[in-house]
Symmetry: D2
Subunit: 256 residues, 4 copies
């Protein structure tokens, strides 16, 4: 029996979602996809040049990947909605990652505008994955208005700082019935592994792979770490103990 993640009716084997930004060359993307095993890839609509006969980031995304266009650049719900519709019209499918950001320094999302955009787009049949702060009430509202998952941040976008919001992520995973996908901040495979051990449904990351010295090898590392974390979650972690506990009885040898 397979352990699959189902979002928007699509079954996914891999729980690693990746991005397309920051690569030294977009031509690296196919190998990164292959090595990571990822089946979902996000791309900023504004990076897609629909008129360009060449050099388009879309040319480097292997067919069969689930495209997850994002609304990067949107500063309010209206702009996010407009970008989502453009993406669909351009043939990018009906999945959309909502990013509504007006803070240019930490790129932190606006929960209220995100809820408004999600409500409208979910109503239009989009599979909506909103990027959010790890705020339980925002996540609850998103469940109500039809999100397909919630994507709380571990740390600011592109910071590679890791799971700095662990306390709040834990609560979201416990309280929200939708898949919780940790998005942003993950810097190392061990971060992604730990998110999965905590019960996250998936991880989305971009910078940690794109900024590695060898992105393809790092992609492979992340693919394995996410799968390892998921298996650990399913296998049931042992308890952590205050005192030591010997692997075998300490008496009865040499001393009797």
């Amino acid at each position: 029996m397979m352990d699959q993640l189902v979002i928007g009716g699509r079954s996914l084997q891999s729980r690693l979602f990746i991005g397309t930004g920051k690569y030294s060359a977009d031509a690296l993307i196919p190998e990164v996809v292959k090595k990571s095993g990822s089946e979902v890839i996000t791309v900023a609509l504004r990076r897609i040049d629909f008129n360009s006969p060449m050099g388009n980031v879309m040319d480097h995304i292997p067919s069969g990947m689930q495209l997850l266009p994002n609304t990067s650049g949107a500063r309010n719900a209206q702009e996010a909605i407009r970008i989502a519709r453009l993406a669909k019209a351009a043939g990018c499918g009906n999945w959309i990652k909502i990013e509504v950001i007006s803070d240019n320094k930490y790129l932190l999302p606006d929960g209220y505008e995100t809820i408004k955009a999600t409500e409208v787009l979910a109503g239009e049949g989009f599979v909506v994955l909103p990027y959010i702060s790890p705020d339980l009430m925002v996540a609850k509202h998103l469940v109500e208005v039809g999100a397909a998952a919630v994507m709380p941040l571990g740390a600011p976008i592109g910071s590679n700082r890791g799971l700095k919001t662990k306390e709040l992520l834990r609560i979201l995973i416990e309280e929200i019935a939708l898949p919780v996908i940790v998005d942003a901040g993950i810097g190392k495979p061990s971060d992604a592994c730990e998110a999965m051990e905590m019960g996250a449904a998936a991880c989305l990351l971009n910078t940690a792979i794109a900024s590695a010295n060898q992105p393809e090898l790092m992609a492979e590392a992340f693919g394995m770490a996410v799968a390892a974390g998921r298996k650990a979650y399913l296998a049931g972690l042992g308890r952590s103990e205050k005192y030591a506990s010997s692997s075998s009885p300490l008496t009865g040898f040499l001393h009797n």
Copy 2:
């Protein structure tokens, strides 16, 4: 080109070392070995009953595994040396993990006695892997007296508490020319993954697998996590940043 760990002249593909204690049934061991991909397994000599025609833990260790007998139960150098010689005489080979412990609560090792035992056994041709506190000076002395690797603890044995000594492990990895194998305390695959990302040569763990609800699945998770951490180390982790950094330029879309 393969990335192999060479210890005592033996090349190892897997950097996960496992133990044989605490399983609900020793018969689980072969499947744990297989799923983990591990090639090195430690066993307490006192658990081996050389006279028993059946029920011996040795019967469950697949042939081809590198056996790493340990001196668990030894309270000083002399006892450790005696156990090591018994192990060799009994056909367990010439690898030996030195454990000298007189603290029954936290099972913390005695560095001075460990150095003495290592010196003697290395002189007799043993491949000596000593279990130590993450103390730089003890590790330096062990290098001088002929250890094949050093095995500092992440947390007390069997505690599943994780890499609580990260600060000191980092220093050992930086300063010691021998392989640094994190032994004890690792509770989750993400812990093992992180140790490898830091540059540890390998991880040894037992309780985290044996105390899982599904040990075979947890063994697979650890095998993957250790490999992922090693790949991340080789791929070169990106820097962690204080501020956010967008995956694509924030200007020039919708707002121009």
Copy 3:
């Protein structure tokens, strides 16, 4: 020159705000106030029995304290507004701590309803201190609608878990022009001290004192720790270094 915190036109010497809940006996409150040095005390309006000739928590609050009634029990903006007005009408003054909570397990606040209540009450002349998740955009909206400070949580109310949201608190302190008062989750004086070192304007806590074995002594400890953290912030912390650095030159002694 004094370092004072000014809120709603009132200058405060102490940056420790305390609560009135969970004490084994309300009669402990005067001594806790005295030992802590606190000048601001929060009380849930619903705990005040305005008809009771005795046994009222208000009887135990020393005169001269700045009363900070809170809207604990409110599940939306409207209820919070109603409670605030009741408090004012009852002679509790014009300071109000907004708590809008519909999550009964983690008691996490609803940012959107909190903004609505703050806007109305600030418009009516209240000095509004809203309890929030450490969400930058919510905090920015609160600045716009007239809050006097923002009170982000370190961890869930009453959990004593500490500064689990440090990453996000740091951003709020950096980006928000209002006083940032860490409220909820602080379990130890060292937590409060660290929040102050980071640049928080003040700390509010209740459970950590009320649940101590000796609340009066713990109150004194918190008063000192908050003051210490503030002084450290003003004194300018030294940099943290990767390598060691001797307190005095290592050469030229015994070895020359």
Copy 4:
């Protein structure tokens, strides 16, 4: 009844020990001493120029302070012993802090040489306070050979990195009957406060004060933080909880 620390027969009110190194000018020392409230001050013997009629660090140490000469610069037991005897002969009293360090990068102590020096000097009537790695077995040996306290490191000397060895410090505090004084690595008053909350008997620090923008103010902050941490330890910290816990009952108000 006072809570005093007694070492070598001397009762101390303050549990903050300070150093004399790294100040921009030694003339700052008297004010730092005064503001910190410290009663014990360590000085490297090699920094003392017994022939100099002026400019000597000793001229800046207020009378009445307990002098704690240290053996900084010693690379083995013999050198440490020689320095200790020189200090005594020079009139520095019979307290001695043993530092035996041959690692010039992280300045980590040599436990074995430290034990040897301690044994000899304790036998000669010195009050011996050895600087050590947080290694339980080394600490146990030091108890046996007559140390007056043990001084485990929180992080490398002068690094300001904080309590990075918390796991091992906790064990020492629990298992060792002597006063455990955290020495080295403390960078912020909150670090010192936390060490005291854990049950440390005292803290010794130098760089964190000397490298602050305003050393006198930072000295005051540390004095308060150490006292706060001690009071918290005595007051008995409340338990940390997984879930939230309201400061007052959540029902019965507005909703009935």
